[in-house]
Amino acid sequence: MTDTPILEISNLTRTYRKGGLFGGTSFNAVDNVTFTLPSTPQVFSIVGESGSGKTTVARMILRLVEPSEGSIRLLGRPLSGKAHDRIDDHEFRRLVQPIFQNPFEAFSAYLPVEAYLRRTALNLRIASNDAQAVEASDAALRSVGLSYERIAGKYIRQFSGGELQRISVARALIPKPKLIVADEPVSMVDASLRMSIVNLFRQIVEEQGVSFIYITHDLSTAYYLSDQVSIMNTGRVVESGVPTEILDNPQQAYTRELMAAIPTVGERWSELAEIDSQFGYADARHSKVSPPTINNDA
C-alpha cells in the first residue's frame, strides 16, 4: 500500500448564478476549500448548517456536481477535467460510494430492496451472475448485522429508518470501496438508533479499511465519530483539526455558537435562564439535581 492520499481537495470552488442571463449575480456555494484525506482509513467530518456548502462539497466528491475551480484527486488521479486522464465512471463507482440522508427516498417503493443490492453487485461487475450477486449482497449485509434472507422480498415501508439505513450502508459496501461519502446519514434516524449507525461506521473503518466523509450538522456525532473535523460556514472552512482540540479550544466564534446550540445533557442554555428570570421563574429543576454522569459504554 502506497502513501498516496485517498482524497486531495485543493482550492475547490463552486459558483452558482442567481438571476437572469445578462444581469444577475453569482455567489460561491463552496469557496476555496482545501483538505486532504490521508491513506490511513479514517472518518473526516464536514460540519455546518444548511447553506454552509457542505452538501455541495459532498456532491462534487461524488461527481454529481462539477467544480467551478480547483481540483479533486482520488488516489492521486483527477476526478474531473479532460476525459482521457480522469478516472472513468466505472472505476470511480467501485472506489467511491454514497449514502444519502433519507433512505426512504434512496430506494424505490416499488422494488424489493434486495434488488438494489444485487444490481449494484452486477452493475459494478463484482458478480457475474445472480448467485454471486446474492452472495456478495449477503456478505455486505452480514457486516452491518443483517442478512439476505432477512430482507429478501421486503419493500421499504416494511423496514424502520434505522434498518433501511443499514441496508444503504450494506449496498455501499458491496464493491469494497475506498471511500464512502455519507451526507447526513443519521439525521432521519431516531435518536435511540443513531448511535448504533454511527458505531457501525467506526466498525467499518476499523475492520474493512474504508474511509468516510461524514457530512452533518450535528457536531456531537461528528465529535464522537471522527478523526478530523472541518467546520464550514457560508462556503468556507472556518476551522478544522482533531475534534478534541477543536471542541476543547474553539478558535472561531462560529464554532462556539454551533457548540452552544447543541441540546446536550449537562449544562443548560444560558438564554433559558435569562428567559426564566425575566418572567420570574425559579430554575428549580436544574438547581436541585446535579447532572448525571453516564458513560457511553452502555
Binding site: S50, M195, L225, A261
Partner: protein
C-alpha cells in the same frame, strides 16, 4: 387542564390496531411537558387523541381524555371530552403538526393562513389593523413583514417552522401541542425556535406539550417528562429527576445513547486506533 385517564387509542374499523395502550397522564396549567420515545411508540397518536383530531380514522377504544378550559371573556369553565374539542381549536388549544415542511397550504399566502384559523374575537378591528398586529407578532420570531406576502415555497424550512409556531401561538391558546416542531432542522435554528417557545410559554403562563425523540431537547426545556415505549408510558416525572435517576431500562438506554461533547469517543471506546 387535560386529564388522560387510562386511555387506549388506535386505528382501524374492521380490526383495531392499538397505538396507545392504557395511558394515564395529566397536563397541568403553566408547564412544559415533554413526551419522548422512538418512532412507533405512540407519541403522535397520543397527541392527536389529546387534540381531538379523529379525522384520520383514530379511535378511542376505552378511557377518557377530559379537558377543562376557562373561557377568556366570560370566565366560564368549559369541561369537555376530546372528541368535542373541535370548537375550542385555535381558541383554547392549538396544534403544531409534525412535518412542518408540508403542512402549510402551498396555494395560500402566509397572511391568509394566519387569519384563516383565527376565532372571531381576534378578527375585530379591520384587516389592516389585524395585519399590523400579525406583522408585529411575527417580528418577535425574527420574521419580516414580507413573509406575510410569501407563499410557503418561498420560505426556508426554518422560516416555515417559525411561521407554524407563530400561527399556533398568535391566538394565545391555553394549550399548545407541538409534535416534533424542530426535527430535521439545524441545531442553531432549532435552538432559536425552542427558546422562542419557552419564552411564549413563560409569558402567557399556558401549557406546552412537546413531542420529540431527542432527549437533549427535553433535558433543555421541559419541566416534566413522559417516556413512552410501545404505546405505554414506562416512566414519568420531573425532567431533572428522570435524568438523574432513570428507573426503567429503556430510559437508561435512551439517556446512555445520547452523544455528548467532551464525552467518550468511538475511537476510544473501541480501542483500536491508538
Amino acid at each position: 387542564m387535560i386529564t388522560v385517564d387510562n386511555v387506549t387509542v388506535g386505528y382501524g374499523t374492521a380490526g383495531f390496531i392499538k397505538a396507545v395502550d392504557q395511558v394515564s397522564l395529566t397536563i397541568n396549567d403553566n408547564e412544559i411537558l415533554g413526551i419522548a420515545g422512538e418512532s412507533g411508540s405512540g407519541k403522535s397518536t397520543l397527541m392527536r387523541a389529546v387534540y381531538g383530531d379523529f379525522s384520520t380514522g383514530l379511535r378511542i377504544l376505552s378511557g377518557t381524555v377530559t379537558g377543562r378550559f376557562v373561557d377568556a371573556t366570560s370566565g366560564q369553565v368549559i369541561e369537555a371530552q376530546s372528541k368535542n374539542f373541535a370548537p375550542l381549536w385555535w381558541d383554547q388549544l392549538s396544534y403544531i403538526p409534525q412535518g412542518s415542511m408540508s403542512v402549510l397550504n402551498p396555494l395560500m399566502k402566509i397572511e391568509q393562513q394566519v387569519v384563516d384559523g383565527l376565532p372571531a374575537r381576534e378578527r375585530k378591528g379591520g384587516s389592516h389593523a389585524l395585519r399590523q398586529r400579525i406583522a408585529g407578532f411575527f417580528s418577535g420570531f425574527g420574521l419580516e413583514e414580507t413573509v406575510l406576502d410569501a407563499y410557503p415555497h418561498q420560505l426556508s424550512g426554518g422560516m416555515r417552522q417559525r411561521v407554524l409556531v407563530a400561527i399556533a401561538a398568535f391566538v394565545n391558546p391555553r394549550l399548545i401541542l407541538a409534535d416534533e416542531p424542530t426535527t430535521a432542522l439545524d441545531v442553531v435554528v432549532q435552538k432559536k425556535i425552542l427558546l422562542m417557545m419557552v419564552e411564549i410559554q413563560r409569558r402567557q403562563r399556558n401549557s406546552l406539550v412537546l413531542v420529540s425523540h431527542d432527549l437533549g431537547v427535553h433535558y433543555q426545556i421541559t419541566d416534566r417528562l413522559v417516556i413512552m415505549y410501545r404505546g405505554q408510558i414506562v416512566e414519568q416525572g420531573p425532567t431533572a429527576e428522570i435524568f438523574a435517576n432513570p428507573q426503567h431500562d429503556y430510559t437508561k438506554n435512551l439517556i446512555a445513547s445520547l452523544p455528548r461533547l467532551h464525552g467518550k469517543r468511538a475511537v476510544e471506546s473501541m480501542g483500536v486506533l491508538a
